[in-house]
Symmetry: none
Subunit: 146 residues, 2 copies
DNA sequence: AGCAATTTGGTACTTTAGTACTACGGATTT
DNA sequence: AAATCCGTAGTACTAAAGTACCAAATTGCT
């Protein structure tokens, strides 16, 4: 968390510096508007890539912090998910289910119909070999996929 | 894949339009350089986020170390239980609920009728301030009482 | 281009969960 | 002794969950 704040601080600082440099050069007529915008675009594009990359790293494994009795651990065992044959969407629904949401609430959060959620839920049950959602959550926790 | 191309095409189109609008307005002095750059920065930042998100979706397989994850935490916070006003029986039912059992199954295991379990479950919901059993389990885990 | 898997959505149905009461015996407290 | 809490159980109802199908559009892969 601290590194994220520091990182962002540095990024903002760099951008402010670049900004000033660009402004000065632009006012002198050395640089065109297009170039300034393009540089900003490229920098932020990669900033976006980097930020998302960092976020994904946490979910991909890397026991950065030892188990502090974490509740919904960010450590997700993707190998296990693959082994079970769970799809991206199904896993997404499973996580929402573990958060205690109803089918209707999950549908609203994912901008889907309740029917779709029910379909996903049923498929999850088959793949996890369970009969109820509470059981599914229990198994999912045991397998480290939520 | 096609949607990505279409999306990028639209994005580029929008950017070109915005670009021209910005240029015109900028030349007229209506808009400041900062605003133009900021808009470009924000758009590309989210574009970066989106692109990485799509990319990550494909790489689901990760040979991460399966974290055994001590599920059945034997550490139960009795002070918390008391604070919530949960009785022994209610806590007992709550534990069974967290194990993914149905009301019927809990009734069978505790040699009670399903009606009794329903009564307990309803009282648990009131005390935990939740609406569904999955939510109750989630809250119970957070509070360390299961 | 074509096939398999994924995602989304639907209908119709059964089952389980949950709500809102009531009631009663036993234990504990006042 | 009266009041209160706990545990038990019931009825009658509504809401949600779950099952079993089907179907169509997308996407991934070859």
């Amino acid at each position: 968390m601290r590194s994220v704040i520091i990182g962002f601080g540095l990024l903002i600082l760099c951008l402010l510096v670049l900004f000033k440099i660009a402004e000065v050069n632009f006012m002198r007529g050395d640089v065109k508007l297009e170039v300034v915008v393009a540089v900003a675009a490229i920098v932020f594009f990669f900033a976006g890539l980097y930020v998302n990359g960092q976020r994904q790293k946490k979910e991909t494994g890397t026991p950065a912090t030892p188990p502090p009795a974490a509740l919904h651990s960010p450590i997700v065992d993707y190998a296990q998910i693959k082994k079970l044959g769970l799809t991206q969407r199904e896993h997404e629904v499973l996580v929402k289910m573990a958060e205690g949401l109803s089918n209707q609430e999950i549908a609203a959060q994912l901008f889907l119909s309740e029917s779709t959620i029910k379909t996903h839920v049923s498929n999850i049950f088959i793949k996890l070999d369970v009969k109820r959602r509470t059981q599914a959550v229990q198994v999912a926790r045991e397998l480290g996929i939520v």
